[in-house]
Amino acid sequence: MIHVSDVSKEFLLPHERRTTFREYFLHFFHPIHYERFYALRNVSFDLPKGQWLGIVGENGSGKSTLLRILAGVFTPTEGSVQISGKIVPLLGLGVGFHPDLTVCQNIFLNGALLGISLKKLKKKQKDILDFAEITLFRDAKLKNLSSGMIMRLAFSIALQTEGDIFLLDEILAVGDRPFQKKCETLFRTLKKEGKTVVLVSHNLNFLREWCDEMIWLHHGEIVAQGLPEVVLSQYEKK
């Protein structure tokens, strides 16, 4: 269950970056001018348990910021968020991946950061590698894999996370058609298990098929909210 009430998020963007002592001294009498940038304005919505919410919008419309607020990475400048349940924030693929470490080391690193228990990672290590189709590369350094392999690995690890609420920030465009089909079977399990999902995606067909409710964000404000067909028809018209 997610309850978002009148959330706004403001960022102060400095016009100059003063990052050293010397710069501070030299420009002591010149105040820095900041740009007040509202990434989100008065966003409110409710998402009951087990429902899937899709968020669409142009680049820069505040989608990722909203997800980060839900994840607890940012705190709202105004408004409040109430969430009950364990949140799994998949705000980027392969968080913590280190190119100089091997695939296996990265599985444990990324898995630990995502909250997957060590026991489970050890047990599912082979499954993770098989699902990502990179079993042969288990001891290769991550930097030697193609970006597609890395994304599939990241996705494969992410599928082992456990929680009640999943926040997915544009992580669906991974892999070829057969791989995507594999992922779909897992999404079906998530739906069946009654998990709550909030996802940001540009894949409108996916959103149409899987979401129960949608939000269209434009310049930080909700301009459309409701059933996928309704929101998407408006969004596609623009």
Partner: protein, 249 residues
């Protein structure tokens, strides 16, 4: 406080730090030992003035190295984990504690080396001496903790703090009696230099372990107050200002 993330950060630090070095983990022992060897030869003129000169020198180096490592790792901890903080919700405090933990682990290994030397060349270790030494280590831990909490946030605003602190550490190495005896310090300067908690920690440690000379209660109380106070100030400052500084990442 997420224990798993803390553990992961410490492991990650060791993996990355020693993955590519030829000597790998041996470097943890080698670094203090090499410095010790060089200083032992260069400053052996002080041999007569300091009892148990080699052990005294090694202990001083190890305690100073811990101070240096902990403050440098601690200061950079938030910057290094910044990219993770933008995708995962965890308190930045964990980054700092993990960095301090790495430094403590380095300290324990170096102390292991010291114990080896001590068993061959040192006097008998008294129970009182060991307790005092443990207390002094805790004081040093609090001291570096406090400094790290302040620095880890300041360095976000002033990125050259790292270089500045490295120069300060280089100077500090000479202001603390590591390779010279405390008696050489002129009376006029003693009062000022004694205020440095690191000087107190190193001197008390040497006296306690090598000379069986234990410090007075009130001296320990003052030291604990300074170190504990700095730690509390550091952590309060950190908790209040964390968000303000971190959004500048």
């Amino acid at each position: 406080m997420n224990w798993d993330i803390w553990k992961t950060f410490v492991k990650l630090d060791f993996l990355v730090r020693y993955q590519h070095s030829v000597l790998g983990f041996v470097w943890v022992f080698l670094k203090p030992f090499l410095l010790f060897s060089v200083l032992l030869v260069v400053f052996s003129i002080f041999r007569q003035d300091i009892p148990y000169f080699s052990l005294s020198l090694l202990l001083g180096i190890i305690l100073f190295q811990f101070f240096s490592d902990a403050t440098l790792f601690g200061m950079r901890s938030i910057l290094e984990r910044g990219y993770l903080r933008l995708q995962l919700p965890f308190s930045s405090e964990i980054s700092v504690f993990a960095a301090l933990t790495s430094a403590v682990i380095h300290l324990f290994f170096a102390l292991g080396l010291f114990i080896l030397f001590f068993l061959f060349r040192g006097p008998i270790l008294t129970f009182g001496g060991s307790i005092i030494f443990i207390f002094l280590l805790i004081c040093e831990g609090l001291l570096v903790g406090g400094i790290s909490f302040f620095f880890s946030l300041f360095v976000l605003r002033f990125r050259d703090l790292g270089e500045i602190w490295e120069v300060c550490l280089a100077a500090l190495f000479y202001l603390v009696p590591i390779f010279y005896p405390w008696d050489i310090v002129p009376e006029s300067l003693r009062a000022i230099l004694w205020w440095n908690p690191l000087t107190q920690i190193i001197q008390f440690s040497r006296n306690a372990i090598l000379l069986q000379k234990l410090p007075e209660w009130h001296q320990l109380a003052v030291l604990f107050a300074i170190c504990g106070g700095l730690f509390l100030l550091g952590i309060f400052f950190f908790r209040r200002r964390e968000r303000m500084f971190c959004e500048q990442l």
